[in-house]
Amino acid sequence: MSALLEVRGLTVGYGGAPVLRDVDLDVPAGSIVALVGANGAGKTTLLRTLSALVPVTRGSIRLAGQDLAGVSVEDRVRRGLAHVPEGRGVVAELTVDENLRLGGLWRGPDRRTAVAEVYELFEPLARRRDNPGHQLSGGERQMLSLGRALVARPTVLLLDEPSLGLAPRVVAQIMGVLRSLADRTGLTVLLAEQNVVGALSVADHGVVLGLGEVVASRPAHELAADDRLRHAYLGF
């Protein structure tokens, strides 16, 4: 059976040498796939390409069997693809509540319940409802951007470096939330991370990206145990 998100032969280049070359990737429904690799391996570019922020040179992206070619950034969201960008993308000038409302703008009446659910999931946010984004701590910001993506009730969640700059305890908390969402609600996650240990610990499957190519794609626990690969591509 085919995966929920299916990438085939994806090649992306900004003019010169390709940044991504012939990338194949499958994210099955209800699973967490960790996308790991060193800085500059192309993780962010891959995510941005999936969202149509970066144009595809060659290859295809299919979501639930439908080809996404020609679908705009804004419409991909409406088709169920939520993208939490690197650096979290909290709109600093808007309040927590406004940021969350923004997450489900096009959703209609069930938005209110979705926002309420996020406040339940991340309690610290409920207390800071009316504070502007720039007053939040790093952890709160990550909760907010994750929560904002969830308000849209996505089928696939693309997360770019959620652990960057956060304390280990907060990282563990966020990873825990992801795992439980995947198990409980069938949320599908593509998680780009430099924090390989953290990412592989919650993921079902791991994909290693090296200089724009997929160098390994295996169950997460196998990857975590492969010393050779760890040394060659993950730097620890």
């Binding site: 804004e74 939520a82 709109v91 600093a92 808007l94 923004l102 703008l105 720039h134």
Partner: protein, 292 residues
């Protein structure tokens, strides 16, 4: 003393209009990071539409309505037809395109209508109401003040409490993130231009009949005043535009009353220089605006 009260009253009404015009500038600045140097010229086009429609139909209100529609259309056309070419990499390109637009619009008006001043009538008395022996506002000033307050209130409601307003604010602060959340940013930018052009046109419509006189260059000085208001209040701050409008409006009214109308352009210049020297971010700039 009576004179002071009267000048303060007129200054308040004048300031409300300046605040509207500055608000239109702030709208575009926040949405597109362009100071729309063509806003005055665009507004004067709308004012000519009002003049023509009023002459044809005899109704001030039909003229007003037509002018606001024309303002909206013009905003749409300018954004889609001209400003789209502005390069995001160079802030100058937007300014230069706007200047090109000023030249096109003003010269086209000059060719169509000639350089003479056209008289415009308003449906209200322009002489002051006297309360207890003290001359206060004129009925027209009162009308202007009410319209300005209503429009500002409506804008506040739009931006604070509606989904469209939320999208416009988000798109202005973080365009890419907004797109990722499904906000159609190019559409919100267009809406911003339309809105700004309508508000700018309204300001010119309120001010031209009684104090500027209709002529292709009628709004040159209005633009400078509006720009000064926006700088005084901080280009990023709608509340600043409001307060700045009142400050500048009252100050100019006092200058006119005590020193003579001829000194107003110089007073504006002095004010602008002082604010830029002492508080370049504006007197009321929000502190958060400068944080990353």
């Amino acid at each position: 003393m009576d004179r002071l009260v009267f000048l303060l009253g007129t200054g308040l009404a004048r300031g409300a209009v300046l605040a509207l015009f500055a608000l239109a500038l702030v709208l575009i600045w926040r949405g597109a990071r362009v100071v729309n140097f063509a806003q005055g010229a665009m507004a004067v086009v709308s004012t000519y539409v009002a003049f023509e429609v009023t002459s044809l139909t005899g109704s001030y209100w039909l003229g007003l309505l037509a002018a606001l529609l024309a303002g909206g259309l013009l905003g749409f056309a300018v954004e889609r037809g001209v400003m789209r070419f502005a390069s995001p990499a160079s802030p100058l390109s937007g300014v230069i395109l706007a200047i090109g637009l000023v030249m096109v619009l003003q010269s086209a008006l000059g060719i169509l209508f000639g350089p003479d001043y056209r008289p415009m009538r308003v449906p209200f008395d322009d002489s002051a109401i006297v309360v207890g022996g003290v001359p206060l506002l004129s009925p027209y000033d009162l009308f202007v003040l009410v319209v300005a307050v209503v429009v500002m209130g409506a804008l506040a409601v739009l931006f604070r409490w509606t989904s469209l307003g939320l999208q416009m604010r988000a798109a202005a602060f973080a365009p890419e993130v907004s797109r990722l959340l499904g906000v159609r940013v190019s559409r919100t930018v267009t809406v911003g231009w339309v809105l700004s052009s309508v508000v700018g046109s309204l300001a010119a419509l309120l001010l031209v009949p009684t104090s500027l006189g209709l002529n292709p260059h009628a709004t040159d000085s209005l633009f400078v005043l509006g720009f000064t208001v926006a700088v005084v209040g901080g280009l990023d701050s709608p509340v600043g535009a409001l307060v700045g409008g009142v400050v500048v409006g009252v100050a100019m009214s006092l200058v006119t009353g005590y020193l003579g109308a001829g000194l107003v352009p110089i007073a504006v210049l002095v004010l602008l220089v002082l604010v830029l020297l002492l508080r370049p971010a504006g007197l009321f700039a929000a502190a958060e605006a400068r944080r990353a």
